[in-house]
């Protein structure tokens, strides 16, 4: 599972101590600055730094996230927690060191009060320690690296998404319960791919025909598909996010595999890839914690406002980011706009007292949501439009990630 836990336990303790030390100096500076700038008691303006990938091929995810943050701001009349709000967007270019640089710039130059966003585990692993060390709260809205849910948890780090392997856990459970006994696994050969397969196997106990890891960014899967056909498995489970998923699904359908082998996937078919795949996704099963058709008032309002403003359906990346802003909103309200009260903000966030797009939920001790996971199926869209994902059933209720026991945080 987590091979780096030895170092991370130490680093969690270290960073906690450092947090308190750093925060003292941070407060001192902040107080000095407050005296110098204005005599106001509470801060007049809230600055949120939101880091995502805006440029390059992965920019599509960043676009969903940014557009969703804007919807949240519109709904709050541009006032998060009642304060005049400025959101500063940063482009990490899909590079950890650039993400870190952008975060440092936001904190040191723009003086942001709170940080949010971040798609990639590796960027988060680089950025989170620096942000928390500076005494600033980080609300992650996608990255799901397991060290951060386990031994590396931090009281200033919250997630409005999930841990990487929870979604495949749901798929593993669903397939196990549906009596599937024979599965062929495919994923890209990188950490997230291994997390997905590990999560799947935690709940699926039947026979595994083969596990195939492909090159990251590989455009052609014909060789692997020929191997798969030769093994003639009864079911197939894959994880191919983004462009890899588009290529894989196209070739799956082109090769005539659809209909011949039942395909189950995670993070492969979503609202960012459906426009490129269209009918090739019909009948596809996915698991997810959220879908645009989720019958939760806050979610329906978000989806409606998003569609009205942007003209397309939001993906879960967006929903999580919207949720991140709403979580911040609830915390700023709880401290009555005094965002320097980091402790108070953390305590307020732990209550998850806001209208989340996933409905009412609670945070686990590691600041990761305890939430439901659903089985989704791609069905034809109304009036010949692109297919849409439709919730079929609840697979997990109030599911916890499998790392929180390593988290030493005391509430």
């Amino acid at each position: 599972m987590d091979t780096g836990s030895g170092t991370l336990i130490d680093s969690a303790q270290d960073s906690l101590e450092e947090n308190f030390m750093m925060r003292k100096t941070f407060f001192a500076v902040a107080i000095a600055a407050a005296f110098a700038a204005s005599p106001a008691m509470a801060q007049q303006k809230l600055k949120i730094g939101f880091i995502t990938t805006l440029s390059g091929p992965a920019g599509i995810i960043g676009k969903h996230m940014k557009d969703s943050v804007e919807v949240a701001l519109d709904q709050l009349n541009r006032k998060v927690g009642g304060l005049e709000t400025e959101v500063i967007y940063g482009d990490d270019q899909f590079k950890p060191d650039v993400g870190l640089q952008v975060a440092e710039e936001m904190m040191k130059k723009n003086g942001v009060d709170i940080m949010s966003g971040i798609i990639w585990s590796n960027v988060m692993m680089a950025v989170q320690p620096a942000v928390n060390k500076a005494g600033v709260i980080m609300v992650g809205t996608n990255a799901g690296a397991s060290p951060l849910a386990g031994a590396g948890c931090n009281e200033l780090y919250f997630s409005t998404s999930w841990n990487n392997d929870q979604t495949p856990e749901a798929m593993g459970k669903f397939m196990q319960e549906s009596g599937v006994t024979d599965v062929y696994l495919m994923a890209p050969n990188y950490q997230a791919g291994k997390d997905m397969v590990a999560g799947f196997k935690r709940y699926y106990k039947g026979r595994i025909v083969d596990e195939v890891f492909t090159r990251v960014g590989q455009p052609d899967y014909q060789a692997e598909l020929s191997q798969l056909r030769a093994k003639n498995p009864k079911n197939v489970f894959v994880f191919y996010p983004g462009g890899m998923g588009v290529a894989f699904m196209k070739q799956w359908s082109e090769g005539g595999f659809r209909g011949q082998f039942p395909l189950y996937s995670v993070f492969t078919v979503d609202e960012t890839t459906i426009p490129a795949l269209k009918h090739a996704v019909l009948g596809q099963y996915e698991t997810k914690f959220w879908s645009p058709d989720l019958k939760v008032p806050a979610s329906q309002k978000f989806v409606a406002d998003f569609q009205k403003k942007n003209g397309y359906l939001p993906a879960f990346y967006g929903a999580q980011s919207y949720d991140g802003i709403m979580l911040i909103d609830s915390a700023v309200r709880a401290v009555k706009g005094n965002v320097k009260d980091t402790k108070g903000m953390v305590l307020a966030m732990r209550k998850a007292n806001y209208n989340s797009i996933r409905g009412k939920f609670t945070f686990n001790v590691n600041h990761h949501p305890i939430q439901n996971f659903y089985l989704l199926k791609a069905v034809a869209g109304a009036g010949g439009k692109d297919p849409v994902m439709e919730i079929q059933k609840t697979v997990f209720e109030n599911h916890k990630d499998s790392y929180y026991k390593d988290c030493k945080m005391k509430w």
């Binding site: 390059g56 050969n189 455009p219 060789a223 196209k250 090769g255 890839t273 426009p275 269209k278």
Partner: protein, 308 residues
């Protein structure tokens, strides 16, 4: 492993090799004749796919769209040559690598601005759907078979043009002695622009054929670009014959590596070790191959006679 599977994987390798060849042919022509390292060749592949998607949508007809898209890519290639690359022919490779890297950034963002960052759909027409049965029980996608056919036809046509026509003669002459051919009254600039346009159209054709099976998205060119460079380096730069041989070798080695390396390793190593080493080695295989080829033959398998 059954023989039919090995044969099918060989065919997959040839098909991937053919795609690589279409890209490599343009790149190696431009390199051999104009002595230009064009990293932006992948961008032309991407533009070919995007322009074709746009043309198919606009015309409503697949073949007309493909023809239009290819023609547009040809024009675009000539435009890029005239505006940006022409002055680079006399520079060293370093300047060329840099300037064309700049073009990659530009084209990727241009596509994102014009068409958005979401991957696009380029659907195959109905007559390209379906399968053929090569041997009992195998279902080979018709589209892939057509790709192989088109690629081989292009290879044959290129071979004919380069070795048997006046244009080909000029091209070969231009590659071996640029000033001589200019002195003989040939408009070398126009010839270069035209050759570059053809190279662009070939990359565009690869993009068009990739459209229905790969993701049409910004940056799609870079996923294949490095492999194409491996192809032309293994084959020997400037040589169409080398590009063809290199493309098939790389296509087949890469495909067989992805398919069979792990099971083969599994027979000597523990399953866990094979699981870990198989995919990693498969990713590195073509680079190992290239390093080995260059260590033995520093100018590739088919060094071009004209050369530098």
């Amino acid at each position: 492993m059954p023989l039919t599977l090995v044969l099918e994987q060989l065919l997959n390798g040839v098909q991937f090799g053919v795609m690589l060849f279409l890209m490599a042919a343009g790149l190696t022509l431009v390199f051999g004749i104009m002595n230009l390292v064009n990293l932006a060749h992948g961008s032309l592949y991407m533009m070919g796919a995007y322009l074709t998607v746009a043309a198919v949508q606009w015309s409503g007809n697949y073949l007309a769209g493909v023809a239009l898209g290819l023609f547009a890519t040809l024009l675009l290639g000539m435009l890029v040559e005239v505006v940006a690359l022409r002055t680079l022919y006399d520079r060293d490779h370093l300047d060329q690598v840099l300037a064309t890297f700049g073009l990659i950034l530009f084209f990727n963002e241009l596509v994102a601005i014009l068409w958005g960052r979401t991957a696009l759909d380029l659907a195959r027409p109905d007559w390209l759907q379906g399968h053929i049965e090569l041997f009992a029980g195998s279902r080979y996608p018709l589209y892939r078979a057509v790709v192989i056919g088109v690629g081989l036809a292009v290879a044959a046509a290129l071979w004919y043009v380069v070795t048997r026509t006046r244009l080909g003669m000029l091209v070969r002459a231009g590659a071996s002695n640029r000033s001589m051919i200019a002195a003989l009254g040939v408009n070398i600039r126009l010839l270069y622009t035209f050759v570059f346009g053809i190279g662009a159209a070939l990359a565009g054709l690869a993009g068009v054929m990739a459209g229905p099976i790969y993701a049409v998205q910004p940056g799609m060119g870079e996923l294949i670009l490095i492999q194409v460079f491996v192809v032309i380096v293994i084959g020997g730069i400037g040589s169409i014959r080398g590009a063809f041989a290199g493309a098939l070798i790389v296509g087949v080695v890469d495909t067989l590596g992805r398919a069979f390396l792990k099971p083969l390793l599994g027979t000597v190593l523990s399953p866990a070790a094979a699981d870990a080493a198989g995919p990693a080695l498969a990713s590195m295989l073509i680079y190992l191959l290239m390093a080995a080829v260059l260590a033995l033959r520093p100018e590739g398998l088919f060094p071009s006679r004209g050369g530098q």
